[in-house]
C-alpha cells in the first residue's frame, strides 16, 4: 500500500529517509519531464531534478503544506532549471560575441555610471521586485517565464500544470496586476 506524501514526509522528518526515497521514486520522472521542457536536455534535466531533491530534503521542515510536496518540488526544480538555462544562454551569448566580433565588447559595462542615476535605477528595480513578490506564485512564474525566459506557452503551461489558455491568461493578468501595484506604489510616494 502506498503511503500518502504527507506520511512519507513525516517519516523523513523523523529520521527515516526511506520515506524520501519513495518520494523520489514517485515524482522524479514527472519533474524531469517538466524540467526537460525548459532545458531541452534530458541529462541536464535529470541532474537539475536531483539537485532539486537535495534542496527539497534540506528545506523539508519548511514545507508547511505537507500534502503539497509535488508542486513544491516542481517549483524548486523549475527555479533551478531556469537558473541553469540562463547560465547556458549567457554562455552561448558570450561565445557568440567572441565568434562574431572576435572579442567581447565590454565598453558599455565598464563605463562608469552616475551614482545618482545608479541609485534611482536600483530603487526602481527594488520596487519591481517587491511588486513581483506580491503576485500569486503561478502568476509570477507565468510572467517571469514569458517575459524574461521567452518560453513557449506550452512549456509555461507544463510548469504551471495547467492548460495553455490558462497560462496565457495568467501572464496577462500577472502583468496587469504588476502594473497596477507599481502604479499604486508610485501614487503612495
Amino acid at each position: 500500500m502506498s503511503l500518502p506524501d504527507e506520511q512519507l514526509i513525516e517519516r523523513t522528518l523523523a529520521g527515516d529517509l526511506e520515506g524520501f526515497g519513495e518520494l523520489h521514486r514517485r515524482y522524479f520522472a514527472r519533474v524531469v519531464g517538466v524540467v526537460e521542457g525548459i532545458l531541452s536536455d534530458r541529462s541536464g534535466a535529470e541532474d537539475t531534478v536531483q539537485n532539486a531533491y537535495v534542496a527539497a530534503l534540506q528545506a523539508l521542515p519548511r514545507l508547511a503544506d505537507k500534502d503539497r510536496f509535488y508542486p513544491w518540488l516542481r517549483r524548486i526544480a523549475v527555479n533551478r532549471a531556469i537558473e541553469e538555462k540562463r547560465r547556458l544562454d549567457r554562455k552561448g551569448r558570450l561565445h557568440s560575441s567572441w565568434v562574431e566580433a572576435g572579442r567581447v565588447d565590454r565598453d558599455a559595462d565598464d563605463a562608469p555610471s552616475a551614482p545618482l542615476a545608479s541609485l534611482v535605477r536600483e530603487e526602481r528595480a527594488e520596487r519591481v521586485r517587491d511588486a513581483l513578490d506580491e503576485l500569486p506564485d503561478g502568476m509570477r512564474a507565468a510572467v517571469v517565464l514569458r517575459f524574461f525566459d521567452e518560453l513557449p506557452m506550452s512549456r509555461i503551461a507544463e510548469v504551471l500544470g495547467c492548460e495553455e489558455v490558462t497560462a496565457r491568461t495568467q501572464v496577462f493578468r500577472g502583468l496587469r496586476k504588476l502594473g497596477r501595484i507599481l502604479g499604486d506604489m508610485t501614487a503612495d510616494e
Binding site: 537535495v54 523539508l60 517575459f147 491568461t169 501572464v171 500577472g174 496587469r176 504588476l178 502594473g179 497596477r180
Partner: protein, 292 residues
C-alpha cells in the same frame, strides 16, 4: 480576485488571450486591426492593456531576471536538519554495534558498513554536534551476492564539496555491484552517474544481488546517493584475498590515482582493518602521518 473588480472596468474575458499576444507582438496584422477597433470601444480592455504595459515597463527596470518562484533555497539551519536526519538513519544500520576485534580481509565487507556509518556520523555529526569532518575521504567495501564480490573502494573528495562525498561513496557501492566479481575498474564520474541513475530506476537489479536486510539499506542509500554527486574518483576491487589487494594497488599505480587516495581514519576502524589485512602497511601509515 478578478482583476476587473479592482478597477471597476471589466476587461472582456474572451479578449485576454488576444491582448497577451498583442503585448508580445504575436498577432497578425488583421488580428491587430480587429483588436484596435475593439479597444476604441472598450474602456475595460484599454485599461487592462495600459496596466499590463506598465507591468512590462516595470520589468524592464530589472537588471537581473528574477526566479519564477522566488528564492526557496534551503537555509543553513535546514541543512543541519537534513544532516541530522541522515545521521539518525545511518545510526540504524544493523551490525554497527558488533564490530569484531580483529579484521580479516574477508570481513572488510562487514567493516564497510561500519566505516560508512562512522564516516556518516563523523561528517554529519551527531545531533548537537554538526561538525564537518576534515578531509572527507571514504573507504567502503561491499559484500554482494554471497561473497562473490568483496570490494574495497576508496573515494576522495574535496573537503569543500560538502555533501557530495556521500553520494560518491554510495555510488561506488553501486558500481561495485555492477563490477560483479573479480574485476578492478576505474570509473569516471559520468559513467558512475549514469550507473547510479540506472540503479535508481531499476530497484530489481539490487534486489537480485543483495541480501534482504542489506538490500533495504543499500537501496535506500543509493537512492539518496544520486542526490549529492559532484565529483569522485572511484576504484573497486573484488575477488580473492591477496589477488584483489595486489590488483587494486597495481591499478592505483597504473592509473596514477594512487596519490589521490589517502586512507581515512574514522575512530581507528579503517586503519585497524587495513593494517590487520597487511595491506598498504607502511605506505598507508606514512600517508596518514603526512596528512596529520
Amino acid at each position: 480576485m478578478n482583476v476587473s473588480d479592482h478597477t471597476g472596468n471589466e476587461a472582456c474575458p474572451e479578449r485576454e488571450q488576444t491582448l497577451e499576444l498583442y503585448l508580445f507582438g504575436q498577432l497578425r496584422e488583421g488580428e491587430k486591426e480587429d483588436l484596435r477597433e475593439h479597444l476604441e470601444s472598450c474602456p475595460g480592455c484599454r485599461m487592462a492593456l495600459d496596466e499590463a504595459v506598465s507591468g512590462m515597463e516595470g520589468l524592464d527596470d530589472l537588471d537581473e531576471p528574477p526566479l519564477p518562484f522566488g528564492d526557496i533555497s534551503p537555509r543553513p539551519e535546514e541543512q543541519i536538519a537534513a544532516e541530522r536526519a541522515w545521521s539518525r538513519f545511518v545510526g540504524g544500520v544493523p551490525g554497527r554495534e558488533n564490530r569484531p576485534d580483529r579484521w580479516s580481509w574477508t570481513r572488510v565487507a562487514a567493516a564497510a558498513a561500519l566505516v560508512l556509518v562512522g564516516i556518516g556520523i563523523g561528517y554529519w555529526g551527531l545531533p548537537g554536534e554538526p561538525t564537518p569532518m576534515e578531509d572527507p575521504i571514504a573507504i567502503v567495501s561491499a559484500e554482494v551476492d554471497s561473497g562473490a564480490v568483496e570490494a574495497l573502494v576508496r573515494a576522495e573528495f574535496l573537503a569543500d564539496l560538502g555533501l557530495p562525498w556521500i553520494e560518491g561513496v554510495l555510488e561506488l557501492v553501486a558500481m561495485v555491484m555492477e563490477l560483479d566479481q573479480g574485476d578492478v575498474a576505474v570509473g569516471n564520474v559520468e559513467m558512475i552517474r549514469a550507473r547510479a541513475r540506472d540503479l535508481l530506476r531499476d530497484g530489481s537489479l539490487l534486489q537480485r544481488r543483495l541480501e534482504p536486510e542489506r538490500d533495504r539499506i543499500f537501496l535506500a542509500t543509493i537512492g539518496r546517493a544520486a542526490f549529492f554527486l559532484e565529483d569522485v574518483a572511484v576504484l573497486g576491487s573484488g575477488g580473492g584475498e591477496e589477488g584483489s589487494l595486489r590488483e587494486l594497488r597495481d591499478t592505483l599505480q597504473m592509473t596514477g590515482l594512487g596519490d589521490r587516495l589517502v586512507a581515512l581514519d574514522v575512530d581507528g576502524a579503517v586503519s585497524e582493518a587495513l593494517e590487520a589485512s597487511g595491506w598498504i602497511g607502511e605506505e598507508y601509515a606514512q600517508s596518514r602521518e603526512t596528512r596529520r
